[in-house]
Symmetry: C2
Subunit: 398 residues, 2 copies
């Protein structure tokens, strides 16, 4: 039976429910006698390096519950991959404070950080549990059926596109919505949940899993205009040409410490696509919106299922590390093979989740590579929940 | 006592509650024996020219209520200013169908259209009531305390900025949010409703009512970074330089039939401002989001007060035209001078609302011209309602 202090931190892009995981873990730890102090590190590993901690035993349950329901990372976040020197410095802090439980909430880069810290701990023969708690709106963590944060971001996207499609019906033309997702199209694909009738948008969906061809895109848009007299397009910020070069990379050079090109926080891709449609398809009214950070931070619309699951993975991480004496691993979500939606949680080796990501399975993408399949809709709907206006909302027939 | 058929149409940019006005008017008319047929014209005056009508007596009350709660213009919209030839064609249709009540739901351009049609009707000695029903998320109609559509769009903006500010807390740097509003800053100003504590964003707000200076902007951002270590900026798409030239006009040329430059549906302004901050303030992490059409179409978050008032102006328009025999005018919203929020509706001459718009009063803008005053917050809060996370939501103290 291990006894010691605990440290928890958040990393990478925030989500609407990442604080559920934090609070789930903290409340579980507070109820467990093996856990001493509970440090919340500010801004991920940066907070360890700077010894910027807050005492998570001191916060009232009421405050913690309020924080759980608040979007974004309450401890602050960071995008930093630890160097060897960082690891040495981190250990000095962990040892000094007798930290025996380390929980890192984040995506694949965060799992990699947990993996690196664990490897160094093993080398240094320092007994610590390093557990990664999954979080990413991109839904691109391997081993997981889906990831906490995705359902809520997908809900935002589906709502936004549903409203946007109604808007496009009113004034016509082409509307392009650029949606987050570096390598995986799950979030962009969620736009399809907005549809009720066959003529509802999004009429076209472009994912990073398929090479993006401007010629093909223009042809698709023209076809859609001919068929419906209007066209709503959902496109992933991460779309690449046939050589694998992100379309956006032609317009921006900024990269983060993990070597990723900046995709979000700019309207460049949408503007480029809109300009191209205007010129090449000779359509007058073409508009583009880039949903941006709202997708991961909009308050008040988190998916209920996502909120609950985000809480559950935090609880499960503490149970695994403290009660089951699991020294390292990543909590993953599996879907039960039952008709009624349900999940079970497991812990897998960190390396199975760290570094590489996963993409949309082929079965989720239509043959033409410009929309999703029913299999995707069946997969995503329980994660997102019922949308505003309902499943069969009535419109005036024109 | 006039008897005759009625025609109703929607024009200009959609809103989240414009269908409340439509349904309010239609249900009021259906209950009134003076009204015969009720034509819904598709896509505003375009539908009259093309004789594209739907029979609004045939729709069930259940369908109409569903439509009322749905964002965007259910009859379709148009941006078209009628020419003299259009007017002649329109009269031919109105006369042929014995239309004696004409209701046009829209902003100042739509009021102008109603005004033009009314003028032509007077010249032709054709007895018809032309009543304009107010709608604009810009909140820029003269004579009105505020306009239907504004409260809901403002609610979206306040929610989005509240979430975005939490997001910015997590990862730091400068975040620029570009918000709709051609000449009036009301919608951008609503970002301020997101704040609870003094260090909450938006830290800076730039409105079309004050000349925008890049130098001043950079200085403000640097000051904010020094004070808070981060900076969230709300900026109107309609900001102009000291000569009155829209900043965005340097990047786009598209105009509509009313001669307005295209401001929305492009991320160019946000990207320009972000690039400038990066270069001139030497800040690494600078992001821009342009909220775009989501501000007027997002389902499920309409303001309750706004929804009720949008319904009420539709009802009032029909009562004025049918019961009070008012032949022309625009329904306007006045605020009662009571402590508890309340409104009353009046009808004013069309020319008082048509064409020119109004801007934010000076009392709503701070002296530095980079934020709003308490007077604005007191003005806007009842229109928007309580926000998700509440009035004093708790955060972990760093």
């Amino acid at each position: 039976m291990k006894k010691g202090n605990m440290l928890i931190a958040q990393s990478g892009g925030p989500s609407m429910v990442i604080n559920q995981s934090l609070v789930g873990a903290v409340l579980a730890a507070r109820a467990n006698r093996k856990v001493g102090k509970i440090y919340g590190s500010l801004h991920g590993i940066q907070g360890i390096l700077d010894e910027q901690f807050i005492d998570l035993r001191k916060e009232s349950a009421r405050t913690l519950e309020a924080v759980a329901a608040t979007p974004s990372s309450a401890l602050g976040s960071v995008r930093r991959k630890p160097t060897h020197e960082d690891c040495i410095a981190i250990f000095a802090v962990l040892k000094k404070r007798d930290i025996r439980y380390f929980f890192y909430i984040g995506g694949n880069d965060s799992a990699e950080t947990a993996y690196i810290i664990n490897e160094e701990a093993v080398k240094a023969e320092y007994g610590i549990s390093c557990v990664h708690i999954p979080k990413t709106i991109d839904n691109d963590l391997r081993e997981n059926d889906h990831t906490p944060g995705y359902g809520s971001a997908a809900r935002f996207v589906a709502c936004a596109v549903r409203g946007d499609d109604l808007d496009n019906r009113a004034l016509g033309g082409v509307k392009i919505d650029v949606i987050m997702g570096r390598n995986a199209g799950f979030l962009t694909a969620a736009a399809a949940l907005a549809r009720v009738d066959e003529d509802d948008g999004p009429h076209l969906i472009y994912l990073p899993e398929r090479p993006f061809s401007i010629d093909r895109f223009i042809k698709d848009v023209k076809g859609c205009m001919k068929k419906y007299g209007r066209c709503v397009v959902a496109v992933s910020e991460g779309i690449c040409d046939k050589d694998g070069t992100p379309i956006i990379a032609k317009f921006t050079q900024e990269t983060d410490s993990h070597g990723n090109v900046q995709l979000s926080g700019t309207g460049a891709l949408g503007d480029l696509l809109a300009k191209t449609v205007k010129e090449r398809a000779a359509i007058k009214r073409v508009r583009a919106d880039t949903f941006g950070y709202l997708q991961r931070s909009f308050p008040g619309i988190a998916s209920e299922v996502d909120s609950k699951e985000a809480r559950a993975v935090g609880v499960a991480a503490v149970q695994a590390a403290v009660d089951d004496d699991i020294s390292r691993g990543s909590v993953v979500i599996r879907r039960k093979p039952t008709k009624k939606y349900g999940i079970k949680l497991e812990v897998v080796p960190l390396r199975k989740v760290a570094r590489e990501t996963r993409s949309m399975p082929d079965a989720f993408i239509n043959r033409a590579g410009n929309h999703v399949t029913q299999a995707f809709l069946d997969y995503a709907r329980p994660l997102v929940g019922a949308l505003p206006l309902g499943d069969r909302f009535e419109q005036l027939k024109h």
